[in-house]
Symmetry: C2
Subunit: 489 residues, 2 copies
């Protein structure tokens, strides 16, 4: 396997004169105040130009519609994920990105199968009715005859514990654990509630339950179940795990509240097969002066297997792709290299993010910043990073230049799952932050489709990302405060 540096070697050979001409600033010297000011004016002007181009042309929306048409339901290891990889590589080449390549990644293969039903047995008044479910990714299936058992409802793990083995054994545990509407940040509400999806089956099985049902992760009350990942626990029985729509959860809970006995039959064909080979897809705009220094921009190419995966994360993939392609098209080649990485397997394994990290771990100092877009294609609000101190202040000053796009705030937060292995090793990780209000209306559902993406909102996100990565890649000094590569051995 070639390393990032050896891959760049041919480029380096082509531009030695340029490299020698770069007057690298002393590592610790801040840019003069005047330069900072003119740089903010430059950011505003670039943001205006790029947003005008993108809003008029609609390139991101066109790419997203194509990806969702060519490769909907592109779960890792599926034929559709293979089509997504092919589409991404072909599209990068067509858009003129450089060093376009795949990097092989071994991914899990979970298959939903044909049969997926939750049927009411009791109350007898509703017997035979089907309730809208989706198996959770990673769940085992049921025997062919299904699993028929009484439903016991809990509002969380403390209530499950109180129930104990006596209350749970032989039963199906229903986690009626709503995301808290009152929280200002829906991602915080998701963070609180999602443990019941991730660990609900293992915790219920530890008390002898035969299956688990989790209320879908959304603040809306509707009939769309939301799938997502779950984990079994070593040494604990594996039991089937599904998500039930919020409206149906309320319905079942209302029966129980009236003292009705609720019995359901769960039938699932889902299964985990042997891991298969897939790929991250990478393309670049090679830096004109410091090509070996990299500003990474990415999203994840895989989605859940139930919908088009438009917001999650077709939007982020197309943000990254079109941001780089637009800079290339407009001949806005920055000093450093912009590297687009479309990661595979964010949804159920993070194999792509881990693999990328493993490949570059001996040359992490080449990575000046890694930016991920994985919060949907909504109107931009800003960016997030967990970094503190001067690097944060410098980044905040740049981001403030995006305020006309609505993207002027630097929030406290992570960068994104795929770049988290890089972040743990000290790479400056930044997340794109769009408006979060509608994300969980669509997240992991059949309706996460391009018609639920607003074209203006999507393109403004690309404009914000393109402006930021160009600016960071074109700064004289590294934004992350580290010395330039050219100063090292």
């Amino acid at each position: 396997m070639s390393t990032a540096l050896s891959r760049l070697a041919p480029t380096l050979l082509l531009v030695p004169a340029l490299l020698l001409a770069v007057a690298a600033p002393a590592p610790s010297s801040p840019p003069p105040a005047g330069a900072e000011e003119s740089s903010v004016a430059g950011i505003r002007s670039l943001a205006r130009r790029l947003s005008g181009e993108l809003l008029q042309r609609g390139d991101t929306m066109a790419a997203l519609e194509e990806l969702c048409r060519v490769a909907p339901r592109r779960l890792s290891g599926s034929a559709s994920a293979d089509r997504a990889v092919e589409w991404a590589e072909r599209t990068m080449r067509e858009l003129g990105l450089e060093n376009v390549r795949r990097e092989a990644v071994t991914v899990p293969r979970w298959v939903r199968g044909e049969r997926e039903r939750l049927v009411v047995v009791e109350p007898s008044l509703y017997a035979g009715q089907e309730l809208p479910i989706l198996a959770l990714g990673g769940s085992i299936g049921t025997p062919t005859r299904g699993i028929t058992a009484e439903v016991v409802r809990v509002t969380g793990f403390p209530e499950l514990d109180a129930l104990g083995r006596e209350g749970a054994e032989g039963r199906i545990v229903l986690y009626d654990t709503p995301m808290q509407s009152a929280l200002l940040d829906p991602f915080a509400a998701y963070g609180q509630a999602v443990q019941h999806r991730s660990n609900g089956a293992a915790n219920a099985a530890a008390l002898g339950a035969v299956a688990s049902i989790t209320r879908s992760m959304t603040t809306r009350v509707d009939d769309h179940p939301h799938t997502g990942g779950m984990r079994y626990r070593e040494g604990v029985e594996r039991i089937p795990a599904v998500a039930l729509s919020t409206a149906a959860t309320d319905r079942v809970s209302s029966w129980l509240a009236k003292g009705e006995r609720v019995v359901v039959r769960l039938e699932l064909d889902c299964r985990t097969e042997e891991p298969v080979e897939s790929a991250n897809v990478i393309g670049e705009v090679i830096g004109r002066e410091l090509p070996e220094e990299i500003v990474l921009v990415g999203g994840h190419l895989d989605s859940w297997d139930v919908g088009p995966g438009a917001h999650d994360d077709g939007a982020g993939s197309c943000h990254a792709l079109i941001a780089a392609a637009t800079l290339k098209r407009l001949d806005l080649r920055p000093r450093r290299t912009i590297r687009v990485v479309l990661f595979m397997n964010e949804e159920n394994g993070l194999a792509g993010g881990r693999d990328y990290h493993a490949r570059v771990k001996d040359e992490l100092e080449t990575h000046v910043m890694a930016l991920e877009s994985d919060r949907g294609g909504f109107a931009p609000r800003g960016f997030s990073t967990a970094v503190e101190g001067k690097v944060r202040e410098d980044l905040a000053a740049l981001v403030e230049g995006l305020s006309e796009l609505g993207a002027g705030r630097l929030f406290m937060g992570g960068g994104g799952a795929d770049i988290s292995p890089l972040a743990r090793d000290g790479v400056l990780a930044v997340g794109f932050v769009p408006d979060p209000s509608r994300y969980f209306d669509f997240h992991h559902t059949t309706i996460d489709s391009p018609e639920n993406v607003n074209p203006r909102e999507l393109e403004l996100g690309t404009a914000a990302i393109a402006t930021l990565i160009h600016t960071v890649a074109d700064l004289e000094a590294r934004i992350d405060g580290k010395p330039p590569l050219t100063d090292r051995d």
Copy 2:
């Protein structure tokens, strides 16, 4: 007619002790710096509390759904507008607002009628096909046999002028005048393009045209026509005026570009009838210390006659209504009076805004601020005002306290149509600014419905507005820099 002051007289009589106890600051003395800081902390805390309440309860969405169900298509002078007035008055009483009342307003009555068709005659290949139109508000109808004429396309008034009488006479002028997608602010794009809807018929008629068709005011290309207001001109023939969907406009233009002759038949039953009586609806939360000083918050109760009018302006009406009702419910009665005004007839006459101004014009100094929400129920971005100087700085400092709601920016801009007569006479006019990306997807269409309003986005708008009006109404000194009423004569 009672004036606002005489209406408040009973209240004043009840609280003389309170009034005497108020230590009014000297008109020009700024609040101490410490107070300002604690005030910003107070704003943040209030914003958090109100957003939590509203996101959890969903009061604004519930009100909006009810208004749109009870009174969809509530154009001024219609039976539905009457139902909207009844609903507003009843709801204000139910929510515990004080001094609830109607103020009679004479409004125009324009009726769309039954028949509204644009039928292709040529190209013969498409003869008989109907193209999606809506008559513009105020348009005259056609004779019963319709108007059949050749279509001539222009991209704007300069091209119309170049066409001259020879090119326009006896023809139907098609204004293919797209809103410019590339502009960052869709309202700016609307501002540029909408003259062709407002004045297209008059300008075309001046050259002898027999009807005018305007491309719908949206950057989307779809099959939903967008209606809106138009004006005839004294001394110029009145000709029928319609809006054509953007997709159909592109279709007709493509025929013309191929050199095809395009002939259409326009059939319209619309007409203007005698003016009728309607009303503004008003309710208050009476100030605990300075009840005669008023912070007005409003939206407009009327809508166009084609859809539910959810974003325009059911959202603004419910923002104002629920903002005040929430403060009342939580016993957050500020020093000054909060007055909710739901204006009638913003869409085709502004009779409500003018009438309100006429009633209060001799006591304008009672109005500390007027805030209107008429840009839809999208995620809040901030507020706008045209005022400069210290008042702007003070307001910006308060608005900055709303940044956690995403509403921290004070933009340059007007307050809103209904409060523009107040603004012209020096009242501090402030507009609520939500994210503008999607507004013109729905504006003046059949699809401006509650299902296209996101509940979280809507409630966050109410929280931002409620926080700002409470804060302004509770400040020690008037935000508008004017002396307190109690210092006068």
